[in-house]
């Protein structure tokens, strides 16, 4: 992970508020969130279910849904995204901001082959020939650690294992070399050994491509492995924010402490306790 932080943040979220209307009125899923993502940095947004972390990520891309009322500001390299015209947003999606979702088996369209879906993502932004498009697809699949890109490209989503599916999803998000990657619980549905591989992959891509990454997760272990900075969310607000070490070793907000303590009660390895592998804490 890169520790260098360039001067201007790549992504700025300012006072983001997202509400959904229902019979009872309006539910504020996100209630005034401000964040910054520096170039090449990995920002982890951590929270329990209902904290609003996923809605925040989706709202950055304008994907919160037709029923969402979004207020505030989201600036990508200075360009305001909230309220921008559909054409502008479409250019941003996929080409400048790539997104990876939790479950590759449902996040791909089950009736098309994986390769074709990646091709589709490329063709939406570049005027390449069919052969060139496929070449890029295969290349990107190789870059995310797929040993037989052609075979995988010819498979349907339901034929892929969790790890392969997630690599394919990452490839699709990165094929056009975006500046920012948003990963929403990318490893939650995976086995722990595969999770470790995918996290290592994300860390490597972040380093090699200077890829600013927002990682949404509920798992503090995942955060500790890959994040540079952490934002802790609860009921639609950011309750704590800081560098990785700050948040883990000097948590200020009670909720952060609550989460860290829950780990201890579960016997999970954390600061100050022995890990399952027997290593000592600080």
């Amino acid at each position: 992970m890169s520790a260098v932080k360039s001067a201007a943040p790549v992504l700025e979220v300012d006072g983001l508020r997202v509400g959904f209307a229902n019979e009872a009125g309006v539910t504020q899923a996100v209630d005034g969130v401000s964040l910054e993502l520096g170039a090449g940095e990995v920002l982890a947004i951590v929270g329990e279910s209902g904290s609003g972390k996923s809605v925040t990520a989706l709202s950055i891309m304008g994907l919160a849904g037709a029923g969402a009322r979004v207020e505030g500001s989201v600036r990508l390299e200075g360009q305001e995204l909230l309220g921008a015209a559909e054409e502008e947003l479409r250019e941003v999606r996929g080409a400048r901001v790539g997104m990876v979702f939790q479950d590759p088996s449902s996040s791909f369209n089950p009736v098309y082959k994986v390769g074709n879906q990646i091709d589709e993502a490329i063709r939406a932004h570049r005027a390449l020939s069919a052969a060139e498009t496929r070449e890029l697809t295969l290349q990107t699949l190789g870059a995310v650690g797929v040993s037989d890109p052609e075979r995988l490209a010819g498979n349907y989503p339901h034929q892929l294992s969790g790890g392969m599916g997630q690599r394919a999803m990452i490839a699709m998000a990165l094929a056009l070399e975006p500046t920012v990657l948003i990963a929403d619980e990318p490893t939650t549905a995976l086995d722990v050994t595969i999770q470790a591989q995918v996290l290592a992959l994300l860390a490597r891509l972040n380093r090699e491509r200077d890829l600013a990454t927002i990682l949404i997760t509920h798992d503090l272990g995942v955060v500790a492995e890959v994040a540079d900075r952490v934002a802790v969310m609860r009921t639609g607000r950011v309750v704590e924010e800081g560098t990785l070490d700050q948040v883990f070793y000097e948590p200020r907000h009670p909720h952060t402490r609550e989460l860290l303590e829950a780990l201890a009660r579960l016997g999970r390895p954390r600061a100050g306790t022995a890990s399952p592998t027997g290593e000592e804490g600080r």
Partner: protein
């Protein structure tokens, strides 16, 4: 695939057998006098008795059944009332029925997709409400009413369209279409409403699925998302529905339309034969209808595996 086809073939034979037995049974339970029918109006009792013997009506029932079956499959069925060769009649009537059903199908599928699409993507708004109301009305209108009204106003009163008859496609394509416009439309009306509603429901469900969100996140245009990722997936159940409806239609559900417009297709043949209590054509037509249904069922299943890669023909157990 081989095992699948064999199974389906077996199933078809089973279905045909059961249907033939049921039809035969019904005929023999109903009060009718086939011998008298054949002998004609001014027949003497001796003549009737002679006919009975020739035709085997005094044989025990199982023997009669076998005879009918044999005649059906060797193509030598003769109808009781008109002494016509059943096979020939069916053959003559098929083109009209096929033209009617296929043409109506094209029309109804086109409009159903259009209406369903517009409704779903403007759900809750005026367009949606109007289209769904229209659909509801179209489903509720009995087909004979629509046909009769169309015939009366558009054909007799305004003389826009011919009122009856079928012109072969090969004879005169334009006239063929001209004669079929009204029947096509009245038949399509019912199905458009039904299919539009089903498609709308499917679209609304698919719209919320994860892969649609991914498609948008890739930067695809809204139209592309809607057609390639929502519509495409939502059409799947329509395929099944269509296969079954179409089979039933060819098999004879088009009876009313054919009858009202005097198209002379096999639906009309069925109607007339039943009215005359004429066993041979009814037997043959029933089996034909069953045959269509089984074949189309199998075709739909095969098409499904091709359209949805997750589905296999047989459960792998």
């Amino acid at each position: 695939m081989g095992a699948f086809l064999l199974k389906r073939l077996g199933r078809m034979l089973g279905v045909l057998f059961v249907i033939s037995v049921i039809v035969f049974f019904i005929f023999n339970v109903m009060p009718n006098e086939p011998a008298a029918q054949i002998a004609g109006k001014s027949a003497t009792p001796e003549l009737i008795a002679q006919v009975e013997e020739t035709w085997g009506f005094d044989d025990p029932l199982p023997v009669q059944y076998l005879t009918v079956m044999e005649l059906t499959f060797t193509g030598e069925l003769i109808s009781y009332t008109r002494q016509l060769d059943v096979d020939e009649e069916i053959w003559k009537g098929l083109p009209a029925t096929l033209s009617l059903c296929a043409g109506a199908a094209v029309i109804w599928l086109f409009f159903a997709v259009l209406f369903g699409y517009l409704s779903a993507f403007r759900a809750g708004r005026p367009t949606d409400r109007v289209l769904m109301l229209v659909s509801l009305v179209s489903i509720s209108l009995p087909i004979f009413l629509v046909s009769a009204l169309a015939l009366n106003y558009l054909s007799y009163k305004l003389e826009l369209f011919p009122s009856s008859g079928y012109v072969g496609l090969t004879e005169d394509p334009l006239d063929w279409a001209y004669h079929l416009v009204l029947p096509w439309t009245t038949m399509a009306v019912l199905f458009i409403g039904l299919y539009a509603r089903v498609l709308r429901a499917n679209l609304l469900e698919v719209m919320d699925e994860d892969h649609v969100r991914t498609a948008r996140a890739k930067g695809l245009g809204e139209r592309q998302v809607r057609v390639r990722h929502v519509l495409r997936n939502a059409l799947l159940p329509i395929v099944t529905l269509f296969g079954l409806d179409f089979a039933a239609l060819i098999g004879g559900a088009a009876i009313i339309t054919e009858y009202i417009f005097s198209l002379g297709g096999i639906g009309q043949l069925t109607a007339n034969s039943v009215a005359d209590l004429d066993l041979p054509p009814v037997m043959a037509l029933s089996m034909l209808a069953a045959f269509f249904v089984v074949v189309f069922n199998a075709l739909v299943d095969i098409a499904y595996t091709w359209l949805d890669p997750r589905i296999k023909l047989e459960r792998s157990r």
